[in-house]
């Protein structure tokens, strides 16, 4: 997930500052009525990605997004018939609508990518807990993240274990589908729930829940960079608001 080896200014920011940035950015681009703010934001995030040495072309699902973007623009262009005609059936409003939506999506997706690539999930959970998230929900997040690879291996094992008992999973057609749902999902869930149970015992068995709060082995430090980033966010929102008022 996170590229811990690489460190940049963005990597070193406090996780909460980055989270607030991500949310603030998302809300701002979705509130902006025009296409300018989303596209400018997307450009800005692209620059940041480059600074943080996260190659933007490695974006997950890039192909999917490109197709989707084309489809969205097409739908808008085809079905919005107001405003000035630009070319043949294409109207300005339709084009603008399409660009606005794709710009928004692009900005949010790129910013999320930047966030994920530069934030350590444990630090994020810890920062959230320090900021008042009840500890059990903080650990719910940590646990869920930790279990993803564990359960993936587990799912694979269950599948193979049944295959070798003669379960025709390697068959074709509806039969396979039905078998997978009935025979595979159940043992996987049984095993997952037993893990949850054993884990609850193991955690309480080490004093989890003794106090409503906890201490933390390591500090997530706040730096001057965080203050700057927070100030930049306020300026960004103000600028977007200004652009929205004065055409854009």
């Amino acid at each position: 997930m996170t590229d811990i080896a690489a460190t940049s200014g963005v990597h070193r920011l406090h996780p909460l500052v980055k989270l607030v940035w991500l949310i603030g950015l998302t809300v701002t681009v979705f509130r902006s009525p025009g296409a300018t703010v989303p596209w400018l934001t997307a450009g800005g995030v692209m620059v940041l990605l480059w600074c943080a040495s996260v190659p933007p072309w490695r974006l997950p699902g890039l192909r999917m997004w490109l197709t989707l973007a084309v489809m969205i623009v097409a739908v808008h262009v085809a079905f919005i018939r107001e405003g000035r005609v630009v070319l043949g059936p294409v109207t300005a409003a339709g084009l603008e609508g399409g660009l606005r939506v794709t710009g928004r999506l692009l900005a949010v997706v790129l910013a999320s990518h930047l966030f994920v690539k530069t934030t350590d999930p444990s630090s994020l959970a810890q920062a959230l807990m320090k900021a008042g998230l009840p500890v059990r929900w903080g650990f719910a997040l940590v646990t869920a993240l930790r279990l993803v690879p564990v359960l993936r291996v587990e799912a694979h094992h269950v599948y193979r274990a049944q295959l070798v008992r003669g379960m025709p999973y390697d068959a074709r057609g509806p039969r396979r589908w039905w078998l997978l749902l009935r025979r595979w999902l159940l043992p996987l869930l049984v095993s997952a729930l037993r893990t949850a149970h054993a884990l609850s015992l193991a955690m309480e068995g080490r004093g989890f829940g003794l106090h409503p709060r906890r201490t933390f082995r390591r500090e997530v430090r706040r730096t001057f960079g965080d203050v700057v980033a927070a100030a930049l966010l306020v300026m960004f929102i103000a600028a977007a608001e200004w652009l929205a008022r004065h055409g854009g």
């Binding site: 930790r146 587990e154 274990a161 049944q162 295959l163 003669g166 015992l201 829940g209 082995r217």
Partner: protein, 502 residues
């Protein structure tokens, strides 16, 4: 320290109590080993001692258990955690964080200790379990043995007064298991920690002079101080006396070639897991596959089943290349038992589970049912036919796994640690059933079997040949009597010590 008075427990929906009339007192700094046949209530007792049963599982308790004069039933679990800790069998299921350092700090963070103290206690615990080199590693990348050590250390860091371990070494190689036992015995002696271990590996534990507590059918039938002579229960558990015939009756010389692995290489993530492995197995042979954790034993069996394909070399089983046919079609001729008991359980009752493979392969039900009933009976599971397989004890599940593969008589059996957690009575029954397939019958040709095991008794009494693997290679391939001497001389004595009765 730990005091049980007339303690008993019956699981919801069970006909008989799993544990009854247990009266025990365990003092501070004692090193206790709990033994007993599979299903005798060891796990149940351990859970109860740590306060994980009463009020947390459906069932009916009687009597009391006190830890340091506090009734476990009346004490909230997080408070009890300051007195007693439980290491469960599966370390993966008890990690709460993402890396080793966080894991060691977890218990102390829960108690709101200051960071300095957390650092210091974690460092001490890491030292005690010899895992200082692992600090900072991601938990997902550790081997089974390393995970088990981290699990123990993370409890030690909380400095409980007592530690209970439920078969902590079931999937560890004998070398690693022995080291873990010695660390624990030292801790008990030097720091006054009370240690209660549930184990079947007595060969390695007895030299550490533990107090032995024996359970049978939920009752305490043995309680003797360290170093006493072997009681009848122990003999039943630890295996045959030296006088018992030591080579199994495998009739003739090896017959037709059933497994042929030629220069097979299997890799993952650019690293070889099996490295140029060659192996031939003929009808009538039972091969013991031994080796340290992570040496590629499981991968070898999966390769033979066709679950992983070799990148180089070839694998033929029963005359066919493994990639030639769909795995589910090959299940008729080749039976595989997985390392994890839970993965293979598919049906909703023990009975359906046993008959499952026969039904997917359309074998006539009448014969199969009669035979299934006989096998279940011999495995001590006859009374549990209608129960859900997940309600069985660990060893019982393991037997169920094996029976459910034996029933349709595959020609080649691949068994991944089927004997972990089995007492000798059951192990012997399983060995007989395997022998039945290998020896064939007038209507059925002889078969072959590969068993991954860490249990020297099984190797001595049930196998004809040993294949010892290290780091993805076959280091040694020799008939049983010679193999033992060779392994000893090459510094792998832990794999062949049969202990007390061996």
């Amino acid at each position: 320290m730990i005091r049980c008075e007339q303690f008993g427990w019956r699981y919801a929906g069970a006909s008989a109590p799993a544990v009854r009339d247990v009266t025990l007192e365990i003092g501070r700094g004692e090193f206790v080993v709990v033994v007993g046949p599979s299903g005798s209530g060891k796990t149940t007792l351990a859970l109860a001692m740590c306060g994980l049963l009463i009020g947390r599982q459906g069932g009916q308790p009687c009597g009391t258990i006190r830890i340091d004069r506090r009734d476990v039933a009346a004490t909230p679990l997080p408070e009890l955690a300051q007195l007693i800790g439980l290491v469960q069998q599966n370390p993966q299921a008890q990690f709460a964080t993402l890396n080793v350092t966080d894991e060691l700090a977890f218990g102390l963070e829960n108690r709101c200790r200051p960071p300095d103290e957390i650092h210091q206690s974690s460092a001490v615990a890491a030292d005690q379990m010899a895992i200082a080199a692992l600090l900072g590693r991601s938990l997902a990348t550790l081997s089974g043995g390393e995970q088990q050590r981290v699990a123990v250390a993370s409890l030690l860091a909380c400095r409980p007064a007592a530690l209970v371990l439920d078969e902590p070494t079931a999937s560890l190689d004998p070398q690693t298991a022995g080291e873990l036992f010695r660390s624990l015995a030292n801790l008990a002696r030097e720091t006054g920690l009370t240690v209660v271990i549930i184990e079947h590996k007595l060969a390695q534990l007895l030299p550490l002079r533990p107090r032995l507590i024996g359970l049978d059918e939920g009752r305490v039938v043995l309680d003797q101080p360290a170093g006493d002579s072997a009681a009848p229960l122990l003999l039943r558990l630890t295996g045959p006396s030296p006088r018992e015939v030591s080579t199994p009756a495998f009739a003739d010389a090896p017959g037709e070639l059933l497994v042929d692995v030629a220069h097979a290489t299997v890799g993952a993530d650019g690293r070889p897991i099996l490295d140029d492995v060659s192996l031939q197995v003929r009808a009538g042979e039972v091969i013991a596959v031994l080796g340290p954790n992570g040496s590629g034993k499981t991968t070898l069996l999966h390769g033979l089943m066709g679950l992983v394909a070799p990148q180089a070399g070839s694998i033929h089983v029963a005359g066919l290349s493994v990639s030639a046919r769909a795995v589910s079609r090959r299940a008729r001729a080749v039976g595989l038992v997985f390392q994890n008991a839970d993965h293979q359980l598919v049906a909703e009752t023990v009975w359906d589970e046993v008959l499952f493979a026969c039904r997917t392969q359309g074998r006539p039900d009448g014969d199969a049912e009669r035979e299934a009933a006989a096998l279940l009976d011999a495995a001590g599971l006859a009374a549990r036919r209608g129960d859900h397989p997940h309600r069985l004890s660990w060893g019982q599940k393991r037997r169920l796994n094996l029976i459910s593969v034996l029933l349709h008589k595959p020609r080649v059996l691949l068994l991944d640690e089927p004997f972990a957690g089995q007492d000798w009575e059951n192990a012997r029954f399983l060995l007989r059933a395997i022998g039945d397939i290998v020896n064939g019958s007038p209507t059925r040709p002889r078969g072959a079997c590969l068993i991954v095991t860490h249990d020297p008794r099984v190797v001595r009494h049930g196998c004809t040949r040993v294949v010892f693997m290290t780091q993805g290679r076959v280091e040694l391939d020799a008939p049983v009597p010679d193999a033992f001497a060779l392994l000893r001389s090459r510094g792998h004595a832990a794999y062949v010590e049969t202990g007390a009765a061996g």
